[in-house]
Subunit: 386 residues, 2 copies
């Protein structure tokens, strides 16, 4: 199989884009990525999206977006894996290029969650959970995460306040990211005063939904020099794993098996371990997910994820910087687009384009996108390319 490089990136701000429809957002990101890569055509388009059908009455996004960006006729398809849809689309785009099916591939993640016509976002998000055994009982998606968080606090003797440091870090980093939704700094005191959403998850434990799109252009590493500006990033690993969708079906609700499997397969493929990773864009849909992701990915012992945050090791100056551009919490979480935002941000870091948020000497970055409360996990490891 061929090595694959990312030769272009594009993103819209995450915001309430009341003046931009889903196709406009996707178009903005894709055209920016194509411009960045210096290409005017492509062989295929893979679109990550979760909620367009329910919220905007539009499926069939592959053909729709391909046509809208001026690529009518090319192979184009939508990929869905709940909140992991974006990275799942990247995984398929990677496969298309690595396997030799296509040379120039665009991958886009897009979600339009505000100012929609058909339904409510809460109804949409719970489709990531098990409809027959979870949602049917009235559980919302945040409620499922609240159960996990409560159990974590009970099992490991952790207080709610201990989670605050994920939020403080995310908001600090978002301040330096012009695309981020919440650029205001947050203190531990503010975190503790935030209003409760689903006990113990409060407003500042929760990522904000939003509208947005992000995109990358892929090609074989051997051809990457022909395109763009020379700031290329190589995909050193790409892996996906799954778990039971319903939390009660898992052996251990506090251990994200799919995250572990996908992270360690990625380490193996790249020939590295957690110690070599310079930054980690993880899936902090809720603070509890950040803690569990750090543990299952090998950055903290079981039950110790929160302490990594509290000790400052997740900051830009720490041992393993996470959410370096704000993360889901503060950049915003347009669900089907998030996986691509994470990858775009890792590329910004590896190209030295992260502005005030630049991680010094970043060479290896990891992006991990999760579907549901851990049933799908997709991990990519990217490397700065000379």
């Amino acid at each position: 199989m061929r090595d694959v490089s990312i030769i272009g990136i594009g993103q819209t701000p995450v915001a309430e884009h009341w003046d931009r429809s889903l196709r406009h957002l996707a178009g903005d990101a894709v055209l920016a990525a194509m411009k960045d890569a210096g290409i005017e055509t492509a062989d295929a388009l893979y679109v990550g999206n979760m909620l367009s059908g329910l919220l905007t009455g539009q499926e069939h996004l592959g053909a729709l977006i391909a046509d809208f960006v001026g690529l009518r006729g090319i192979e184009a398809v939508k990929v869905e894996a709940a909140c992991g849809s974006g990275a799942a689309a990247l995984r398929l785009g990677y496969m298309a290029v690595a396997g030799g099916m296509h040379d120039l591939v665009i991958v886009c993640g897009v979600e339009k969650m505000t100012d929609t016509v058909n339904s409510e976002t809460t109804t949409g998000l719970v489709m990531a959970a098990d409809a027959d055994y979870e949602s049917v009982h009235g559980l919302t998606f945040v409620a499922i995460n609240a159960l996990l968080m409560r159990r974590y606090m009970y099992e490991y003797g952790v207080r709610h306040e201990d989670f605050a440091y994920f939020t403080v870090n995310a908001h600090r980093n978002a301040a330096g990211n012009p695309q981020a939704m919440y650029r205001n700094p947050v203190t531990v005191e503010q975190f503790m005063r935030a209003r409760m959403i689903a006990d113990p998850i409060n407003l500042l434990d929760s990522s904000g939904i939003g509208d947005g799109a992000a995109a990358v252009v892929l090609c074989p590493t051997s051809m990457a020099r022909e395109y763009g500006h020379g700031r290329r990033v190589r995909i050193r690993a790409s892996s996906m794993a799954t778990d039971a969708v319903a939390v009660h079906d898992r052996r251990d609700p506090l251990w994200l098996s799919a995250v572990e499997a996908s992270a360690f397969k990625a380490y193996q493929q790249a020939g590295v371990g957690p110690r070599e990773i310079d930054l980690f864009e993880l899936h902090d849909a809720f603070t509890i997910m950040a803690a569990l992701s750090l543990e299952a990915s090998g950055f903290a012992e079981r039950g110790k994820g929160v302490w990594l945050a509290r000790s400052g090791e997740i900051s830009r100056e720490g041992r393993i910087p996470i959410c370096t551009m704000g993360g889901l919490k503060a950049r915003g979480h347009p669900v089907g687009a998030t996986g691509l935002y994470q990858v775009v941000e890792v590329v910004q870091q590896l190209r030295g384009e992260a502005g005030p948020n630049q991680i010094a000497h970043a060479r290896l970055g990891m992006a991990q996108n999760i579907g549901g409360s851990g049933a799908t996990a997709i991990t990519h490891i990217l490397e700065a390319q000379d």
Copy 2:
């Protein structure tokens, strides 16, 4: 890239399965395909589905179905391309095996359209069209096809009765398929008396929606002998193309450019032409789509698709048998599953397992799945393998 074979097939009857949920239907088809292939595990699962979110409140089908069939942990993702979702999933499964990413891949198409809780099927199906420029004006999916059919009749001087022969053929063939939904024969007289749905499309111009799932198991051709019973079928070509989603955006509404592009790319890949194809499972969601597909795929001149049907050349004894197990019209059209049903049926023909519907000496079969009113087209050419 590697040659790819289909080593196992499975399907449920298409019906109103009020006692089977979406995961049960998918499970039945996948487990049948695994049994047929003689495998107990797989590397990845690709699920074609269009409507599960809107109709049953369940997304995230990759992880859900992988777990349900006993394959918890494997790579699994949902693929959506409107009514072309099934074949789009096959296309990605093919890519995974051909490119060397995986050796054993399961592809499943599933749709649960009756006895659902959340919404109406008509609302769901129109998500294949352009929400901002077609559905917003109140156009349903059948209405869009009715506009195409009316224009066809006007341009080519064709009467409504001339389309009857597609329906007569489909129902004749469904009679011999135990999995088909409508096994009753239909006469031209009955067709003409059927009640109007969206003028000029009547009930018997229209495929019936239903619940169902179909699945195949793929592996590299070089490994195919290790598995199953030796009745293998090789994928000689796989191709996907797109067009504008909104009909008014196309250069010529009566010419399916995506169908043409995907069919002729497939012919090129397989090194054959329409004359060498022994049977053609086409996308007869409405009779007009059957006519347009025959024309764009090179089996009939422009405006002459209906005459191919009227002259009997589409029958099992004719020049190009279509819908040999009932087609969308009479086998039934569980939209996201249809592309896989078509492929399973071609495999049945090529393995000599089509019972009373067996096409004599069938060696090369083509399956073509369409998304929307032609915006996505996926063509596969399969060959009996010694």
